[in-house]
C-alpha cells in the first residue's frame, strides 16, 4: 500500500456505492440494539430480496444518529429520511412504500426538525452514514486522506501549527490547548514516546465517546496516527471501559483493518513511519479516566492518580513522554488537517473553537447524543434541540458536566456553553453530560446522589476526597432523614471548599461542584429541609414518613 492507493480505494468504493439507488442505514449502536435493531437489520435484508430490489438497495449497519429515545432508527438515502421506532413488522411496509413505490411513510418519520438544525456535526459527521465495520466506507467519505496529506505533504511541526491554528482544546473536560500539548510532547526528551487515547467514559448518563467508537472508529485511529506523526510517538494505547463490549468489538475490527491496509504498523503506507495501537480495558473505576490514573492502569497498576508535576508530557507511561487525549479530541484532528485550522476556528467562539458532543438526558423530550458549536446557549440545547420538559412539568435545573458538574438554575439558561463560562458559574465542561432536572426532583437529594457516586469512586489516596467526601455524604444522609441542623449547611460549605482546593486530582477537585452549586442556587431548599423538615419535591424523609405512618 502506497499513499496513492488510499485514493484508489476511495474511488472504487464511491463507484461501488453509486451502483445502488438507495441505501438503508440501520443504527446498530448500543442504544438501538436493545430495541431490536439487529432484527430490524435482518428484516430489511430479507425484505429487499422479497421485493427483488437488492440490486438497487444497499442495506447497511451504521452508528448512532443521536435520537436514542426513538430507536431503532433507520435512515434511508437519498434524502436522509429518518424512520423512528422501526420494528421488524414495519420493515416490509417501509421497503414496499418507500423503495418500491417511492412514497416515504410520513407517519413513521422522525418529526423533530429542531433536533438536527441547531447541531453542527464535525466529529460525528459520519455517524449514521457509514458502516463502522467497513474501512472502505470511511475511506470513501474522505477518511485517511488527512493522514496521507500529513505524511506526504506536511512536516510534523506543520501539523502541530495547524492544530494550534485551529484553537482546538482538550475535549476530556479540562480544555487544555491541544496544539500546545503536542508541542510539549514533541519537544520532550525521551524515547519511545507514547500516545494514550482516553475512552474511559465513566460518568453515569454519558455516552458520547462510546457512540463515537461505535459509529466511526477509524476517525479515532486516524487522529492517533496523525498525532503520532506530529509528536514522534511509536506506540499508542486506546484505554476503553470493559463495559463497552460493542465499542471494543468495533475498535478491534477497525484496528485489524488498519493493520491490513498498513495504516498502522512498522512501515505505514511504505513511508517508514512506525506506529502501533493496542487496546487496554478499564475495570470500571471512574477515577481511571484521570490522566495520571490512566497511565498507572495502562502500565498494569492500580488506577491511582499521582501528583503533577511531573506532567505526562514529560514523564508519562513508564517515565517516557506521553500524549494523553480524549478520543473526541483525536477525532477532530483529521478534519482539522483536511480542511485547515482556520476552517475549524470558524466554528464556536474565539476562545473555544469547534464543536462539542453532549449526552442529553434526564427530564427532556428528545434525549440523545448531540454535537453543537461551542458558545451555544443552554436554553437552545434544552428547549430547541432537547424539545423542553415532558408531561408539562416545569424546568428546575440543568446539571452540566457529569457527576462532578454544576446544577444551574433557570436564570443561567442563556449562558453560552464554553469552558470559561461554565467554570465561572460553578459547572464544568467535563465529559459533556447534560442532565435536565424538572420540578419533581429535590436539589438536596440530587446533590446527595452525585456525592454518593463520588464517594464510591474516590480512589482513597488523598484525605480530602476520601475522608472529606465521606463526611459530606453523612451530612446529606442526616439532612434527608430529617436530622439536619443549620450548622450542617456551614459544614457542607467549609468542607466543599477544602475538598475542591486540597484534593490531589480532578475527581476530588470537582466532586463538590453539585453541592456548591445547589447551595449557591437552591439554598432555600436546604433551609426548608433543615428547618421545616420539608421536601418540596417529596423525595426526602421517606423513611421518616413511613415510620410516622406505622405509628
Amino acid at each position: 500500500m502506497k499513499p496513492a492507493d488510499i485514493q484508489k480505494i476511495a474511488e472504487h468504493e464511491v463507484d461501488f456505492q453509486r451502483a445502488y439507488k438507495h441505501r438503508i442505514n440501520v443504527c446498530t449502536s448500543s442504544g438501538c440494539v436493545p430495541f431490536g435493531a439487529l432484527k430490524v437489520l435482518k428484516a430489511f435484508e430479507e425484505a429487499v430480496k422479497e421485493f427483488g430490489v437488492e440490486k438497487e438497495c444497499k442495506v447497511a449497519r451504521t452508528g448512532c444518529v443521536g435520537t436514542c429515545s426513538v430507536g431503532p432508527a433507520v435512515i434511508i438515502e437519498p434524502g436522509d429520511y429518518l424512520y423512528q421506532s422501526v420494528t421488524p413488522e414495519k420493515v416490509r411496509e417501509i421497503v414496499r412504500d418507500h423503495i418500491v413505490l417511492g412514497l416515504p411513510m410520513k407517519e413513521n418519520l422522525y418529526s423533530n426538525e429542531a433536533f438536527f438544525t441547531k447541531q453542527q456535526r464535525i466529529v460525528l459527521k459520519n455517524a449514521g452514514k457509514i458502516d463502522p465495520h467497513r474501512v472502505e466506507d470511511y475511506i470513501a467519505m474522505g477518511g485517511y486522506s488527512a493522514l496521507v496529506k500529513c505524511i506526504t505533504r506536511m512536516t510534523p511541526q506543520g501539523v502541530i501549527e495547524e492544530v494550534k491554528d485551529s484553537g482546538l482544546r482538550g475535549r476530556g473536560g479540562a480544555g487544555f490547548p491541544t496544539g500546545q500539548k503536542w508541542s510539549l510532547v514533541a519537544r520532550a526528551h525521551g524515547s519511545p514516546k507514547y500516545i494514550v487515547a482516553n475512552l474511559d467514559e465513566g460518568d453515569p448518563g454519558v455516552f458520547a465517546n462510546r457512540t463515537l467508537a461505535e459509529a466511526d472508529p477509524h476517525s479515532i485511529i486516524e487522529g492517533m496516527v496523525i498525532a503520532a506523526y506530529a509528536v514522534g510517538a511509536e506506540k499508542g494505547y486506546i484505554y476503553i471501559r470493559a463495559e463497552y463490549p460493542l465499542a471494543i468489538q468495533t475498535l478491534k475490527l477497525a484496528l485489524e483493518q488498519a493493520r491490513v491496509l498498513t495504516l498502522l504498523g512498522d512501515n505505514i503506507l511504505e513511508t517508514g513511519l512506525k506506529f502501533n495501537i493496542e487496546l487496554r480495558f478499564g475495570a470500571g473505576a471512574f477515577v481511571a479516566g484521570e490522566e495520571t490514573a490512566i497511565l498507572a492502569s495502562v502500565e498494569g497498576r492500580r488506577a491511582n492518580p499521582r501528583p503533577r508535576p511531573p506532567y505526562p508530557a514529560n514523564s508519562g507511561l513508564w517515565g517516557k513522554p506521553t500524549l494523553i487525549q480524549n478520543v473526541e479530541t483525536l477525532a477532530n484532528i483529521p478534519n482539522i488537517v483536511h480542511y485547515g485550522g482556520e476552517w475549524f476556528a470558524k466554528y464556536g467562539t474565539p476562545r473555544c473553537t469547534g464543536t462539542k458532543c453532549f449526552s442529553l438526558t434526564g427530564k427532556i423530550n428528545n434525549p440523545g447524543l448531540i454535537e453543537v458549536p461551542m458558545g451555544i446557549t443552554l436554553r437552545e440545547v434544552v428547549f430547541d434541540i432537547g424539545g423542553g420538559i415532558p408531561d408539562g412539568r416545569k424546568f428546575k435545573a440543568v446539571l452540566v458536566g457529569g457527576p462532578s458538574g454544576g446544577c444551574l438554575p433557570e436564570t443561567l439558561l442563556d449562558l453560552p456553553i464554553d469552558y470559561e463560562a461554565l467554570t465561572r458559574v460553578g459547572a464544568i465542561m467535563g465529559s459533556g453530560g447534560i442532565v435536565v432536572i424538572d420540578d419533581q426532583s429535590c436539589m438536596v437529594d440530587t446533590a446527595k446522589f452525585f456525592t454518593d457516586f463520588c464517594v464510591e469512586e474516590s480512589c482513597g489516596r488523598c484525605n480530602p476526597c476520601r475522608a472529606g467526601l465521606a463526611r459530606v455524604k453523612e451530612i446529606f444522609d442526616g439532612i434527608t432523614k430529617g436530622e439536619g441542623k443549620m450548622e450542617d449547611i456551614t459544614t457542607l460549605e467549609k468542607s466543599s471548599g477544602y475538598i475542591k482546593e486540597a484534593s490531589l486530582c480532578g475527581l476530588g477537585q470537582t466532586a463538590p461542584n453539585p453541592v456548591v452549586t445547589t447551595l449557591r442556587y437552591f439554598r432555600e431548599e436546604y433551609v426548608e429541609h433543615v428547618v421545616e423538615k420539608k421536601c418540596r419535591a417529596g423525595r426526602c424523609f421517606k423513611n421518616l414518613n413511613s415510620e410516622a405512618n406505622k405509628q
Binding site: P307, N463, R466, A467, A470, S495, E501
Partner: protein, 234 residues
C-alpha cells in the same frame, strides 16, 4: 554533568537549592518547617495526606510540598490563614475517619497525628466521629495491625516495597473502604513472604502497626529508610 541550582522565595526568604529539589526539602534546608505526615525521607513521596500543602504565588491551586519540585522564581507561601485552616481540616478528617482514641492507643505520646493535632491547635472535631470496627490481625508472631487506627498514609507499603524489597503490603478496595492488606489479603501469620523485619511498624506514624508488648516509642524509627539508603549508597 553538573547539576544546576534553582533560586526561589519561600515565605519571602530567597533560597538557592539544587535543581529538582522538592519544596519541602528546600524549606527544610533553610530552616523553614512545613508539617508532614505521609511523607518520609527515603521513600517515594505519596502526596496523599495534604498536610504539607503550600500556596504558590500566581496559581489558585495548592501543592503538596513533598512532591512538588522547585522552579526558578517560584514564590512559595508555607503559612497562611487558609493553609492553617486546611491543615486543621486534614487532622480533623483523619481523626473522624476511623477509631482514634489516644488514651487507649499504643502510640499515645509517640503518635505523629496526635502531635500534629496538638501543634495545629485542633481542640475539637467538627465532623461526626466514625467508630469503625475493622479487623485487627495479630496472627503474626510479633507484628500487629489494627486497621481502625490506620490513616492510609501508605508508609508501610512503601517501606516494604522500596526498602525491604518484599512488597507484601498493599491496598485493597478504594475510597473510604481502602484497607492495608497482607499478601493477597491473607492473615499476617500465614504470609510466606513477610521477612518480619518490622520496618512497617518503625515507620507507622500512628498506632496501626506495632510490635506486640513493646512501647511504640521504642519501636519507632522515622529515619530507618533514610539510614538504610545512605548505607546502601556508600
Amino acid at each position: 554533568m553538573s547539576i544546576g541550582t534553582t533560586t526561589l522565595k519561600i515565605d519571602g526568604i530567597e533560597v538557592t537549592v539544587p535543581e529538582g529539589t522538592t519544596i519541602l526539602n528546600a524549606a527544610k534546608a533553610n530552616g523553614i518547617n512545613i508539617p508532614t505526615l505521609c511523607y518520609l525521607e527515603g521513600l517515594t513521596p505519596w502526596g496523599g495526606c495534604r498536610i504539607c500543602m503550600v500556596e504558590i504565588h500566581g496559581t489558585p491551586k495548592l501543592f503538596p510540598a513533598c512532591a512538588t519540585p522547585v522552579n526558578t522564581g517560584m514564590e512559595v507561601i508555607t503559612q497562611s490563614e487558609k493553609l492553617r485552616e486546611y491543615r486543621k481540616m486534614v487532622v480533623q478528617l483523619l481523626l473522624s475517619e476511623r477509631t482514634h482514641v489516644c488514651s487507649v492507643c499504643v502510640a499515645n505520646n509517640a503518635c505523629e497525628l496526635q502531635k500534629l493535632a496538638d501543634e495545629l491547635g485542633v481542640d475539637h472535631v467538627m465532623f461526626e466521629r466514625n467508630w469503625t470496627s475493622q479487623e485487627i490481625d495479630s496472627t503474626h508472631k510479633s507484628l500487629v495491625i489494627d486497621r481502625n487506627r490506620c490513616i492510609l498514609c501508605t508508609r508501610c507499603i512503601r517501606v516494604c516495597d522500596e526498602i525491604e524489597g518484599v512488597h507484601i503490603l498493599d491496598l485493597k478496595n478504594r475510597g473510604k473502604d481502602s484497607q492495608i492488606i497482607i499478601d493477597l489479603d491473607q492473615k499476617w501469620g500465614d504470609s510466606d513472604y513477610c521477612t518480619s523485619c518490622g520496618k512497617c511498624a518503625k515507620v507507622c506514624p500512628v498506632g496501626a502497626i506495632y510490635v506486640e508488648s513493646e512501647a511504640l516509642s521504642e519501636t519507632k524509627d522515622k529515619h530507618i529508610a533514610e539510614f538504610i539508603l545512605s548505607r546502601r549508597n556508600r
